[in-house]
Symmetry: C2
Subunit: 724 residues, 2 copies
């Protein structure tokens, strides 16, 4: 774990000793040592053995101070009259010293008193919480929030992977809803962001370096303009070794995935000539789908299936086989997988169910063992199979699908896989791949992402998932891939109970979905709030060019749509451009005197196609405009298809001039708008009827991706825009 | 304004005097008097003219206290050394008294010092804000929030109409995100809810009774288990008279609306035989729509239009006319409206645009004046007209629409009206009415609601609006109507800048959309987050029976859908029933051993129709289950249409036995699921393909309505359920 910082070398023996002694947390004195060794500021303190020494300490720390009896025999200091708080002068400190000794003496006459602890009494400043926890999926996490109530009641807290860089720590400070509090509200001075970020970094390094540290709560930390002090620090220990995830090197993954998705030959174990059998559906789909490689049916009781010679075992197949698709009962899988191994087939697709998902974890473990022994990588079990359109490969029992396009999709659930397929067919969605992951006993999302990263047929990846085997590995790959290609994730099970067993505050907070939300965002993953959103994002993101900046302009024929589209822009984090006067004047030349320029540009309802055309052209050609949202209103003078054609025409003319800006449209009108939307989609323009929300939501998703990928730049229109 | 409480009689002369003196706020002394007269607890205080008197006051109030110089000549008390805070003993008070006099004397030797004000120094307890403001749409509002930062940064504040009853005030306390703080967190005692509610009631009565009070800020109010104290109170004055809204009595509104929507005869002013003219479209729609009453074309240059005799003026029409539809240029409207008035036609539909929406407010005012003079109620101007299907009445230039059903819809914008029409046609949505409101220069949402309330053809009302002329009148009607029929509202312009001119804290907070949100919810209005949501709610709410309680059960063929449907239930405020052991056992009889009972009930993917049938029947027949969410997974063994038929069948069989529970379905599968969803809708079961969110969202909307309408009762499953 970690690189073993100098601090860890000091701290770990202390932690290991505590764990060895069977303890589950550190005592106050140990906690202070850990803090000091790691640059975590704590209140200053010292032990005085005389009243005058106590005064000297107090004057060094500054008033007010706290005084506490120091005695190994007095456990309940307050009960013993051994604590005095809020001491504000030398006289008060002197008096407290004497009173404490007197009280302790009468409370426990036989106790040995070693002196009086004088401690800086920190107060004022902003109360924040800095913590760390150990997540079963992501490992060590660091957490940050403001104020007890904000964190506890509103759960306004943010998480990152530990360890953390300073820039990322600064980013955390802006990731909570209460972020403006840090800048100072109600006359308070802003907190020292650098000091706070350094504290987050220190805690993140500490937990990353020390597997024994399960959870950390610095709560409260008092932050003001000068710096930070951790008033209370709890360190919880764990004797469990951190989980070990099997990892493959990028080149190893690519080698396997290339053979899985672009195989030279495919064997179907359990191929069948009988309609209705899965082994028949798989064979048919391979054949009917048009796969160009060899297809080998494997079935000891058949001579020939679908006109191809059948083999009793994969071992008898003469040619090269890169994928074995399993369509046999679960209990037969381990045996057949041995044969696959012996034949040297590098990958398998385990369609059968009856493994961990039905409670048969043992059989699944057996399959994993065989696969690992032979170096076979496999999909599933408990899946529908997969599609890879560049190879016309339908290794699935579902119906074939052959619309090629830039989107790769995966799903953990078969039901969601079928929804993907139905939506794709209905929306004419071009895909490169649709992959079922099922139980993910081997191949998982990071393997797929690693392949799709280098796959020229794929420019956008959308994944439905219920869990992650190794969240950290996924984030590493997703962070890299999402810089080039959008990675959209539908994470189901958002509302699961989660870490009920957490002992610390931070641990309890980490139980919910916020962890996924924060870590996905930090990795540049575009999270879809629901299934339909994932599908629409997958459809539109590859279609939309990357915007050059944050300036969005709405052009609408219906004022009413304009208002709703503006609402949707704000909801989706988009910035309506403040219209520059010259551009405003230019728009006004085209619209009726009572139309509204500004933004939305309201061309009014009675206008002919030429008004839509002129205003959209103007917006496309003006460099200050980065994205366009069009609100169409069905009228006799500009019917839906006329609108669709003119919009497609204008956008294509602009593309011919090298102008590529995202354009989305909302069509309000009678049912003819449905065909108009389809026509617009065919021209690469996302367009939706009867909704002002969806077109803006897909544009918003494109922006979320582009911002995270760093494609809008810091110079982006954000700062220039007044609209944000 | 108001009934003039006893307190108002004391306070109003004071306020009126301040307004008369040209002042915009009350001084500290006046503010204290207003508080005391209205039962608003403030810190105790008294003026001492000797150190011993100061000590007596301090001991009466309890330490700590604050001491301040009292002198009309010393404005800046702190600068003058005239303030001492945190005085904790008689000695400190005595010393402070002397120091203050000495400092004041040297700061302003000529000032007359009247003594020293001794004030209770309130501290501890929870900081809350209680305020009031004057909203242009809703009038006097009362506001509540917790803590400075929570309110200011997170805008966690809630609003209600003033005056307010005690029960509603208690309800306000639960309406903020930070509500758990009031119950005590981090070891704090709970605040005194009764005292806090009484304070809200007192402030609400005060502002309701005193039109001169524009805004009130009690900030902070310190609340603890004993009671509340307003530490600081600001009262801002207004010299403007409150806006007067014209109101009609319910019977007057009904008399007009009945004649508008169920007219005996309709005149079309500007009727035309020429295709493409609005006056032609309106005539055609009236005729083709099948309206049974007389239709009178009015056009001085025509003898006959569409086979009907044309009249030069409405005054020449021999028969009874209840509605005059205007299809003439804006500038001709006032003249023609005079004729309508003279003829005694009670209502008009002003289709033309060119009024306030194009800046011609004067022409609109002229129309209003003519209408008011003749007692003519009118829709518009600037509208598409309206449909009322029970009378087969299409008084619009849009295409006819005749699918009868229980939903009445209205829109302020023509574009949104066209989207309603297109969606309705596409979804086979049965409607009673679709009404354009446009500029709302007369008839508005409250008039329509008043009619739809008594209209037997209407059981659900959905309204798109951008503003409300008289928000208070709307809420009054909506609150009454929504007890019987769902009122769905799409409020556009949610993100408008709003009350930028507010001077108080509360006023500034009231600027945003939260006011609409809170007041709609309090009135039982179901707010739709977007256009498509409004349309889907309108389609499904009348279709779904009212649930008898909060227990929702999910039955799914796809585990993956089950997880997403559970997420959606939580997102939509629905409670998954904790499965009773006997019912769990009953489900297990029907599902494979590895299927999961509990909730969701996962019947697993490979099951035949009989498993869906048996489990759905069981859930429908068990009294403890109140609503059903079905997740279907397309398989060969249970194809989409087979599923649709069995579900429709089971639900209808239950209905025949008198079992009426809401059932919604999410269908995951290939494109055949689209036809299956249509079939289910035809059987009154909301069903959607490729989405797990929408079916649950419409069920959630039904629940929101039913709860607000008091139909689930306090005994509702909420308390019993562990799932919430």
């Amino acid at each position: 774990m970690g690189s073993g910082s100098g601090e860890a070398a000091v701290v770990r023996p202390l932690l290991q000793a505590a764990v060895a002694a069977g303890r589950s947390s550190l005592g106050a004195h140990e906690a202070r040592r850990v803090c000091e060794a790691n640059g975590i500021p704590v209140p200053q303190e010292g032990v005085a053995t005389s009243p005058e020494q106590a005064v000297l300490l107090a004057e060094r720390f500054g008033y007010p101070v706290v005084a506490k009896v120091v005695s190994a025999q007095i456990l309940h200091k307050t009960e013993a009259g051994g604590v005095r708080v809020g001491l504000r002068s030398a006289a008060e400190v002197r008096a407290a010293y004497r009173e404490i000794l007197a009280s302790a003496g009468s409370y426990a006459p036989s106790a040995r008193v070693d002196g009086v602890l004088v401690q800086q009494m920190v107060s004022g400043g902003l109360e924040v919480i800095v913590g760390a926890t150990t997540d079963p999926t992501f490992g060590k996490l660091v957490a940050f929030g403001v104020g007890g109530v904000l964190v506890e009641v509103l759960r306004d807290v943010t998480f990152r992977l530990a360890p953390l860089g300073h820039a990322d720590a600064l980013g955390m400070l802006d990731s909570i809803a209460a972020a403006p509090v840090l800048a100072g509200v109600r006359g308070a001075a802003p907190v020292n962001r650098e000091a706070l970020a350094s504290l987050l970094v220190a805690v993140s390094r500490l937990v990353a370096d020390c597997p024994e540290l399960a959870e950390v709560d610095l709560n409260p930390v008092l932050a003001d303009e000068r710096g930070v002090v951790a008033v209370d620090a709890r360190f919880l220990l764990s004797s469990e070794p951190p989980p070990v995830h099997q990892r493959f090197a990028r080149e190893e993954i690519l080698a396997s995935m290339r053979r899985l998705l672009r195989p030279r030959g495919v064997a179907v174990i359990g191929a069948s000539a009988e309609q209705g059998k899965i082994g028949n559906s798989v064979m048919r789909n391979l054949v009917d789908g048009g796969y160009g490689g060899e297809i080998y049916p494997v079935n000891p009781r058949a001579q020939e299936i679908l006109g191809r010679r059948a083999y009793a075992s994969v071992e008898e197949i003469p040619g090269e086989v890169d994928v074995a698709v399993f369509a046999i009962p679960a209990k037969l899988v381990p045996g057949a997988l041995e044969e696959v191994g012996r034949k040297g087939i590098p990958t398998a697709v385990l369609i059968p169910s009856g493994f961990a998902e039905t409670g048969n974890a043992e059989l699944q473990a057996q399959v994993q063992e065989v696969a690992r022994r032979w170096g076979v990588r496999f999909l599933g079990p408990n899946i529908y199979g997969f599609y890879y359109t560049p190879e016309k490969l339908c290794a699935t029992f579902c119906t074939p699908y052959d619309v090629k396009g830039p989107v790769a999709l995966s799903s953990q659930s078969g039901g969601i896989g079928m929804a993907i397929l139905g939506f794709a067919r209905s929306a004419h969605l071009g895909v490169s791949a649709i992959v079922g992951l099922g139980n993910k006993a081997d191949v998982d999302e990071d393997d797929l992402l690693t392949f799709f990263e280098e796959d020229d047929a794929t420019s956008c990846i959308a994944m439905h998932m219920e869990d992650l085997k190794d969240g950290r590995a996924f984030l590493e790959v997703a962070k890299r891939v999402s810089r080039m290609k959008p990675v959209i994730v539908l994470k189901a099970g958002r509302t699961s109970a989660g870490a009920t067993a957490a002992r610390s505050h931070t641990g309890a907070l980490a139980g919910d979905d916020k962890v996924y939300d924060d870590l996905f965002r930090a990795a540049g993953v575009v999270r879809a709030p629901g299934l339909r959103d994932m599908l629409e994002y997958a459809r539109c993101l590859p279609m939309l060019p990357t915007p050059a900046g944050e300036h969005v302009v709405i052009i609408t024929g219906a004022g009413g749509s304009g208002v709703l589209l503006s609402d949707a822009c704000v909801d989706n984090g988009l910035s309506l451009m403040t219209m520059p006067p010259d551009l405003d004047a230019a728009f006004r030349q085209f619209i009726p005197p009572f139309g509204a320029a500004g933004n939305p540009v309201d061309i009014t309802g009675g206008e002919p196609p030429s008004t839509y055309r002129a205003t959209i052209e103007l917006a496309l050609e003006d460099e200050r405009v980065h994205s366009l949202v069009i609100g169409y209103w069905h009228t006799i003078i500009t019917p839906p298809m006329v609108f669709a054609e003119l919009l497609a025409d204008v956008v294509e003319a602009a593309r011919a001039k090298g102008i590529r800006k995202p354009v989305v449209a909302s069509l309000a009108g009678d049912v003819e708008v449905e065909a108009a939307c389809e026509a617009l989609f065919e021209h690469g323009i996302p367009a939706y009827p009867y909704t002002t929300e969806t077109p803006v939501a897909v544009l918003g998703a494109k922006y979320r991706w582009a911002r995270a990928a760093g494609l809008l730049g810091d110079r982006g229109a954000r700062q220039e825009s007044d609209g944000s």
